[in-house]
Assembly symmetry: C2
């Protein structure tokens, strides 16, 4: 069994390979080629903590993944990170463990960044340039780095908004040091009005972005809402969008950004398009340059499998990730 | 994070400590102090394989467990073991990983042995001596070793029955080499009639033991049936028993030995007694020396947590397994 720690994984992870694997994961999910049992939850209220276990397998790949993620929110008081976790890969031919990835949750952050980039790049207008990131946590950096990587040579212009502009400034500074074009902004409504694409990554429980702030042609990727009660966009904005895309409808409608609009009857469940179908071109995606499009990403075990397989391939470069037919 | 491999765990595992922990686990389960989400299953039919993930936490202990177990039944053709697996322990105060136990499934075998011993010793007649093991797989050795350990100085007399007496002889020989009193037998009905206690550990799908074979005063611990369709005892035997004990009623009634008698209406679900209540003396257990008692064990995440905590305590002998209050 290969064992990799966080630093090794971070140093060697290939973002291009990760994007390829993540795209494959979304398409497999949309096409029904993913085995992904219900997520297991454990709760530790006395320590303000929780854990969940996701497992999954993309048909045709050599490994299935079991990912354990923990969130213990009093850790910050002790100067420790709240999030932790690891992924395990097992061989789908023999059941033997292939790899233990002690990534401390980094691969989850990375796959969230890769997913946001894939959705945003696929659904924004051709030639999109101004990208607004709503939220200045660690994930803001993943979103910026992954999307610029996907955009390739064409430089994007990023703005980061946070309630506390100092946090936005800190995130922007860190990214500028790597040559990225990023500035922090203090007025969310103004920033929304000038953005071609918006990525929201906050834990908000009330809408941050109102329907009449968003100009035609804008794409929004909503990532923050991942459990009941969370919401970043007004339900009217969701209801008025011309195209609603998601990674997994049952999650989006009950735990994701679309839960509020769905619960109030403003959208119908069967109106959602799977991101994988857009990425595979089975669905045309954005209908025109005036449409408002929204992608709601809640996270898939298939993405966890994709990044774990990507990390494993670092150590087994001559091993194909796919099984022999 | 402490990492232990199978050989290290086997060499250092303390059976007495394991029995204490396993008893604690059953009692906690019966008293509602165990957090144990539904088991996750993955299936790999093209490789004749399956995997399941169990997770659980016994309230008051410092670690929660995530156990991954695989069964790939074509491995034997390649000279590899069918079963594999590992357990992970995480801190319930911070979420950090405490231990990775690469036991390859050995701890599951051990906890099954410990559980069989606890149930049998608690429910057999005082002074029981003749113990029949039905099935000669690896688990037969765990059952014999754990029960003799629990019986302490008092030597028990074991018989092992298997369809193929050569397998029974092989198991008996291995155990005799460690000074245990074990013989293989070929006639199941005769062996049943003279046994004080019987432990069944086969994958049978039709009853091996008939109701009129069993003499008054016998205790039976049925372990083999752990999924729909499996059965080792006749439904009439189950229906006629004076006391039915189980580790977890919902499992016993739907996946365990009691499924057939329950489905046919021969027993009622509310007639089952939790093993933990017998072990804690909240229930008196065996009513008299003439009663036939049956315990059906299907396996608990709490037992997995108990043996993982026991293994961890090997490496942290000065660390209490229980949290500070």
């Amino acid at each position: 069994m290969i064992e990799l720690d966080k630093t090794t994984i971070q140093g060697l992870f290939d973002m291009s390979a990760g994007l390829v694997a993540s795209r494959m994961a979304y398409i497999a999910q949309a096409e029904g080629r993913v085995q992904s049992p219900p997520v297991t939850w454990l709760e530790f209220p006395q320590a303000n903590g929780e854990a969940h276990v996701k497992s999954g397998h993309i048909a045709g790949t050599k490994g299935f993944v079991v990912k354990i993620a923990t969130g213990f929110y009093d850790n910050a008081q002790r100067g420790q990170p709240s999030s932790n976790g690891m992924s395990l890969l097992f061989c789908t031919q023999t059941g033997q463990p292939l790899a233990l990835l002690k990534d401390e949750g980094w691969l989850t952050d990375m796959r969230t960044g890769l997913g946001g980039a894939l959705a945003t790049h696929a659904l924004a207008r051709s030639g999109y340039s101004n990208v607004l990131i709503v939220g200045a946590g660690l994930q803001s950096q993943h979103q910026v780095r992954c999307l610029q990587h996907l955009a390739g040579e064409r430089p994007l212009s990023f703005q980061i908004w946070a309630r506390d502009i100092n946090r936005g400034e800190a995130a922007a500074k860190s990214l500028r040091e790597d040559g990225l074009d990023v500035e922090a902004v203090s007025d969310l409504q103004t920033a929304v009005a000038r953005a071609d694409a918006i990525i929201t990554i906050t834990p908000a429980k009330a809408p941050l972005i109102q329907a009449d702030w968003v100009r035609p042609g804008t794409h929004i990727t909503a990532i923050g809402a991942d459990s009941p009660g969370k919401q970043e966009l007004s339900a009217d904005l969701v209801a008025q969008a011309d195209l609603l895309v998601c990674d997994l409808a049952e999650q989006s409608l009950h735990e994701g950004e679309f839960q509020t609009a769905f619960a109030s009857g403003k959208i119908k469940g069967d109106s959602l398009v799977a991101l994988g179908h857009v990425l595979s071109n089975a669905h045309p995606g954005r209908p025109n340059n005036q449409a408002i499009t929204i992608a709601d990403l809640t996270g898939l075990a298939a993405q966890d499998a994709a990044v774990a397989l990507t990390a494993l391939s670092i150590m087994q470069p001559d091993t194909e990730l796919t099984e022999a037919p």
